[in-house]
Amino acid sequence: MKRQLALIGYALGALSRRRGRSAAVTAGLALVVGLFGSVLFLGDALRAEVEAGARYLPDLSVQRLVAGRPALVPTDVVGAVRGIPGVRSVNARVWGYLYVPPISANITILGATGREATLHAAMVAGRSLRAGERGACVLGAALAEAIGVEPGDEVSLSSDVGGSDATVHWLRIVGVFHDASALRTADVLITSDADARNLLGVDAGLATDLAVSLTTPDEARVASEKIALLVAGARIVDKQLLRRTYALTLDGRGGLLSAMLLPALAALLLLAWDRLTGLSEAERREIGVLKAIGWEVSEVLTARLWESLLVALGGATLGVLGAYAYVFLAQAPGLAGALYGWSALYPPLRLTPQVDAAQALALIVGVALPFVAVGLVPAWRAATLDPDHALRGGA
């Protein structure tokens, strides 16, 4: 241990003596690892967002198409769907978009069915809706901010039936969702099922869709086939398929970006090759000196190993830390657009740090190991020469 510490001390001194070159190689490694790490981290964070969003999705969403256009689903099929083996619960949901002139934007109205209670945990101010509570609502932070309201205030919304039949509904705000759930709640207003029907003009006996929960999500395909027989024009969205589609899209985009980074990696490898296959005159001479004063080949190689390892681990670690800061602190400017796949996103997505430690470690090791291995070859060649020969530049 004491010997290794002394050799590490020597290696640090050697790096310091060649600080310009050491810094350049470290920076090059950090840059490449940082670029690859950014793609990995961003992909992981987006996959985590998708997973987090999917947690609140029903196993199956049953919508209905009439003449190729979305139509309301009659709720009299709920009982029949519930009777399908493997179906645990069915909720007829009422939701839709409502234009709010003061903020010139559409908001999402959602009739409470009870399932939203899980979302309420993210509430930052106020309370959640009580079952069947009329004239009250919970809304997203961005929406509350845009309207300029807070819990305790009332908000007026015009129903979506148009013309002289449109009526104004006053809803008391009882809670506001936290920013952390902004991606799913920013423009959402949850109110009672009855108030939602009034606002959206959805008659009793109809629903926007059916949220189906399954005992075994793996049986989604079988359940879908049976539901399709019960609901005419059914379009069934399978949560697993949706999740897989997102994953494939993100993996595809991530792969494409990684492929685009290959030239940078190739350039670095060339630099590393040039740096490592030939020792500089000063390095070769230094190895000769060490041999001449009685260092063994293994001791010379260990010192060189520490030198390479310190550079490689330093560069790779800096790269990983830089990638973390770039993705999660700076929100990946420039790269995010390529992976998000949309040109504008509302609300702004704040990525939650998600790092696969094994992946980050694999990235560091994957860069550091070849770097160290390649670096040992010329050092071994110089160290196995007679000291006199090495000193005279024979390596």
Binding site: K2, A282, E286, I293, G294
Partner: protein, 237 residues
């Protein structure tokens, strides 16, 4: 000024026993014999000089005597240790313990301080102990280098570097000290200092062999014996 006088433990064997040493270099189709069948026995506590013109093979022979160069033929035994027969690992360890070497170009590491250079042979042993640091400091004091202990090598004069190289060669207290052209590029006053230093080290019991083509060293009364070398062979004198 305190004088460091650490004498190596005497043994019955000669300090250096070289038998039939030959060194041949091959470079593609060209083959060159730099040292041819040299045998020499250097007793303990002697100050010997290898003299010869440039290209006569002095440096290579010195390297062979100190197991710094692997002989093509022959063997060298230092203080009873058959260095040329040992595997590289054992040979290096034995050399570290038995032989101090001072190169003509001094082989100090630029960018390091004088103290760091002097302590460099101790790094593979886990770094210097307090006693070894004190020994190194005493060596620097002995050679008048205390003021330059923390000075980088490139800021030292030629004479200071040379004394620093000798200090480094002695930091592990080896019984044998080999020096390649120790008076090259030195003025007359400095040559006298070097001769006095070598004589003092010899008087402490060390065995010293130095190469030179400088008559100021070779002809010095302090030198016990001069071996002349020409075309890689010893010449009777």
């Amino acid at each position: 000024m305190s004088i460091e006088k650490e004498s190596p433990a005497p043994t019955a064997a000669p300090a250096i026993d070289a038998r039939g040493l030959t060194k041949r270099y091959e470079d593609g189709v060209r083959r060159r014999e730099v040292v041819s069948d040299v045998s020499v026995v250097v007793p303990q506590g002697a100050l010997w000089v290898l003299r010869g013109p440039s290209g006569s093979g002095k440096t290579t022979l010195l390297g062979l005597l100190g197991a710094m160069v692997t002989p093509t033929r022959g063997e060298v035994i230092v203080c009873g240790e058959p260095l040329s027969r040992l595997r590289d690992h054992h040979r290096t360890r034995a050399r570290r313990r038995l032989v101090g070497f001072v190169f003509q170009e001094l082989a100090l590491v630029p960018g390091m301080t004088l103290t760091e250079n002097v302590l460099l042979p101790l790094v593979p042993e886990g770094g210097a102990t307090n006693a070894q640091r004190a020994h190194a400091a005493a060596l620097l004091e002995r050679f008048g280098l205390t003021a330059f202990a923390d000075t980088r090598i490139e800021r030292l004069s030629g004479g200071e570097r040379q004394r620093g190289a000798v200090a480094r060669a002695l930091v592990l207290s080896p019984p044998v000290l080999l020096l390649d052209e120790p008076t090259a590029h030195l003025d007359a006053a400095r040559v006298l200092e070097v001769v006095a230093m070598l004589a003092a080290l010899r008087d402490e019991g060390r065995t010293i062999v130095a190469t030179t083509h400088d008559p100021r060293l070779a002809d010095s009364a302090s030198v016990d014996r001069v071996l002349d070398l020409a075309d890689g062979k010893l010449v009777e004198n």
